[in-house]
């Protein structure tokens, strides 16, 4: 019933936009990758978890370090390493510069030494905001130096992995990092030292095929995407529909590739337990 006999269309007066125009600032609302629902940023809580489905929002390196390491204990190493564009890939340097400005990082991984509940460890946190945390010469070098330092000082390593794979712009040099880092990991392992990986969403490609899967204990976050080749590539190659939960942490766990899925609020606690047990064992055996 059209009570006031209103016309369907009315002329709209365009007002000049003033500073008071309502707008939603970026980041106030975020979209959950897992369930697709729009979530009010503050409702994700201190652990940045989707209140609807429990999916974990991706964290920046800074956020992860704050969540896991004792306050102020994390000392970064090799912070200034940056790529020299080994293949002179066009446009690459500009992209890197832009990302450095945007994220405040020089590269896709932050490595350093810190304490978790007073236990000293070497830590690496990959940041998907930096070119999808793709692994190039710098990520490889930083990871290698991290393991070398840890081996030298007889300390465990905790690595939080995330990656879209090898960095295309550095070609074969990126691929070669897989072998390089794996070798460093192995030397750390030969020294009888503990290496825990926490696989976060998404971890794929060369990182999965190398150091992410080399942990003595491999943990993962719920619903994280874990895989090697991309889903679409596999479907097109195999000409075969893949199950809906393909490449999720839950399916990967079922198939025996990871040890345990830990919900984010319990992650620090779990790492503390594992580090304490191994510290005690190490102390006892020494």
């Amino acid at each position: 019933m059209n009570l006031f006999k209103k016309k369907k269309y009315v002329p709209v007066t365009v007002r000049p936009s003033s500073e008071y125009a309502p707008h939603v600032p970026d980041g106030l609302w975020v979209k959950c990758i897992v369930c697709g629902k729009t979530v009010y940023g503050k409702e994700t809580g201190e652990y940045k978890i989707c209140p609807h489905c429990g999916g974990c929002f991706r964290l920046s390196a800074g956020e992860r370090i704050e969540m896991i390491f004792d306050e102020g204990s994390f000392q970064e190493i090799n912070a200034n390493l940056e790529t020299k564009n080994p293949l002179s890939y066009p446009g690459y340097e500009k992209t890197i510069a832009g990302l450095q400005k945007k994220t405040g990082l020089r590269e896709a991984v932050v490595t350093g030494k810190g304490e978790i509940a007073g236990l000293t460890v070497y830590g690496a946190v990959m940041d998907s905001n930096f070119m999808m945390a793709s692994m190039g010469s710098v990520v490889g070098e930083k990871m290698t130096r991290l393991f070398e330092k840890a081996t030298e000082e007889g300390l465990p390593v905790v690595a939080f992995t995330a990656s879209g794979g090898a960095r295309m712009q550095e070609g074969i040099i990126s691929l070669m990092q897989m072998a390089k880092v794996s070798a460093a990991v192995n030397r750390h392992h030969q020294a009888g030292l503990l290496y825990i990986t926490v696989i976060t969403d998404p971890t794929t490609g060369g990182v999965t095929a190398s150091f992410a899967m080399q942990g003595d204990i491999i943990l993962a976050e719920p619903k994280a995407v874990i895989g090697f080749a991309g889903r679409r590539v596999i479907e097109q190659t195999m000409k075969h529909q893949l199950p809906k939960n393909f490449q999720t942490a839950e399916l990967v766990l079922e198939n025996g590739f990871i040890d345990k899925i830990i919900p984010r609020p319990q992650l620090k606690e779990t790492l503390i337990k594992l580090l304490r047990i191994h510290n005690a064992v190490k102390g006892a055996g020494a």
């Binding site: 019933m1 009570l3 007002r15 500073e19 125009a21 600032p25 106030l28 609302w29 009010y40 409702e43």
Partner: protein
């Protein structure tokens, strides 16, 4: 002054706000659920945006959609009305983050007063008399028992995060304590996500007297007198009047000053109401503060001549209060009767349906009808059942009662059952006429 306001509500309050905006030359944007496509507020506003399906949680409580509607319509401010998101500090903070003026108090103030146990504590600290009870939350049965014995039974267990009468359990004797504690706790948890409880002594045969507050952004806080809302059925108000005939002018002044003191203590801005319990011995106690405009605001408007909704808009736009305490005078006596679409023969269960025919009372001096329904309108079953408020202003209480009787008798509605007959019975009851009633009156006197 705002160019455009979005009204994040429905029904008669939405209509009320739209009317005030029109009179102030402010453009209006309404939001409606799919069930409210034909609602009066949807049709009355300059523009309307559909914000979701009928269920309130997906529409009128959908913060993302309402904020989007405000951005879409370029509304500089949102008036939340009452209920829904009116006392939701997350929503108020969200408006602030999106450069939208929330017509109400600051989110921080909503939080302080929204936690009832905390509010009590704050009032105690300020020196406002509170109902004897716990200082903060009660965490264990042992604590509860100890305190209840000290206060003396009966006591009331109340949800700290509560409202709307939920999460409240009376305890008559110590044997009932344990089960009522767990009952209140789980109802509170289920309704508000927070099982925290506090305790108050039950003050029997008290009157519910509330004071209307207005505060601007410059620290000025005034009161507009009190309202007597003792006539309640199951914690739902049925009839309200202003001023209260139970208190003297001296007490009125003191009550007003306590209310202003309380509001100033939390830096209150915009319209709000401080609820007090007034006992048989002439003592009043702070009960809680409602950080929104209330359903019964018209009775205060009638006796003061102040348009509270327009004041709310002016305050939010950054203007100082248009009146000061000494320029306010209370004239006459006002009564409001809430007319609900409910079936008295079925325990007042809501009775939605189509209004076939309707004749609203009108004419003469001092009659006002706030309503959002019209003949041919289908009352949706998803929301509360209030369809109109009849408000009268008389020279004195007797005059006001006579006018209300006339108005109720003139009210005709076909197609839905209403509580009009019940209101007539109430207003003709000797205890009502003598003014000797308290919060227990309706439940005790009327066989429901």
């Amino acid at each position: 002054m705002f160019h455009k306001i979005l009204i994040a509500n429905r029904g008669e309050i939405a209509v009320r706000i739209i009317r005030a905006c029109k009179e102030m030359g402010i453009q209006t944007a309404a939001v409606f659920s799919e069930a409210d496509r034909d609602a009066l507020h949807t049709q009355m506003a300059d523009e309307a945006v559909c914000i979701g399906p009928p269920r309130a949680s997906e529409s009128y409580l959908n913060m993302a959609n309402i904020i989007s509607a405000a951005c879409l319509t370029k509304s500089e401010a949102i008036h939340p009305g009452f209920g829904f998101l009116a006392e939701n500090s997350t929503f108020a903070a969200m408006c602030r983050d999106c450069s939208i003026r929330f017509i109400g108090p600051d989110p921080e103030t909503i939080d302080i007063m929204g936690d009832k146990a905390n509010a009590r504590k704050k009032m105690e600290e300020t020196g406002v008399p509170v109902i004897p009870g716990s200082s903060g939350l009660i965490n264990t049965i042992e604590e509860a028992e100890k305190l209840a014995v000290k206060l003396g039974f009966p006591v009331m267990l109340k949800a700290a995060a509560g409202g709307g009468g939920k999460g409240i359990r009376p305890v008559g004797k110590v044997e009932e304590l344990e089960s009522q504690f767990y009952n209140a706790q789980s109802e509170a948890k289920a309704n508000f996500g927070n099982g925290g409880l506090y305790m108050e002594k039950i003050i029997e045969n008290a009157r519910h007297i509330e004071v209307q507050i207005l505060g601007d952004n410059f620290g000025n806080v005034i009161h507009l007198g009190e309202r007597d809302c003792s006539l309640q059925r199951r914690n739902q108000k049925m009839l309200e009047e202003a001023p209260s005939i139970a208190i003297t002018d001296e007490k009125r002044k003191a009550l007003g000053e306590e209310a202003v003191k309380a509001a100033k203590a939390v830096g209150y801005k915009n319209a709000g109401t401080i609820e007090f319990l007034y006992d048989k011995n002439g003592r009043f106690y702070f009960m809680e503060m409602n950080t929104r405009i209330q359903v019964e605001h018209p009775v205060t408007e009638m006796i003061t001549g102040i348009d509270i909704v327009k004041e709310q808009i002016r305050i939010a736009a950054g203007e100082p209060l248009s009146v000061s305490q000494d320029t306010i005078s209370l004239r006459g006596h006002a009564i409001e009767c809430r007319i609900n679409a409910e079936d008295p023969s079925r325990g007042f269960a809501p009775a939605p349906g189509k209004i076939q025919y309707m004749l609203l009372p009108s004419g003469c001096l001092g009659l006002r009808v706030d309503s959002a329904v019209y003949p041919g309108y289908y009352i949706p079953p998803y929301y509360d059942s209030m369809i109109a408020k009849l408000i009268v202003l008389g020279d004195n209480r007797q005059d006001a009662i006579a006018k209300m009787k006339r108005a109720l008798e003139e009210f005709v509605i076909e197609g839905v059952s209403t509580n009009v007959d019940f209101q007539l019975e109430l207003i003709n009851h000797p205890s009502y006429l003598s003014g000797e009633y308290d919060t227990g009156f309706i439940m005790n006197e009327f066989i429901l």
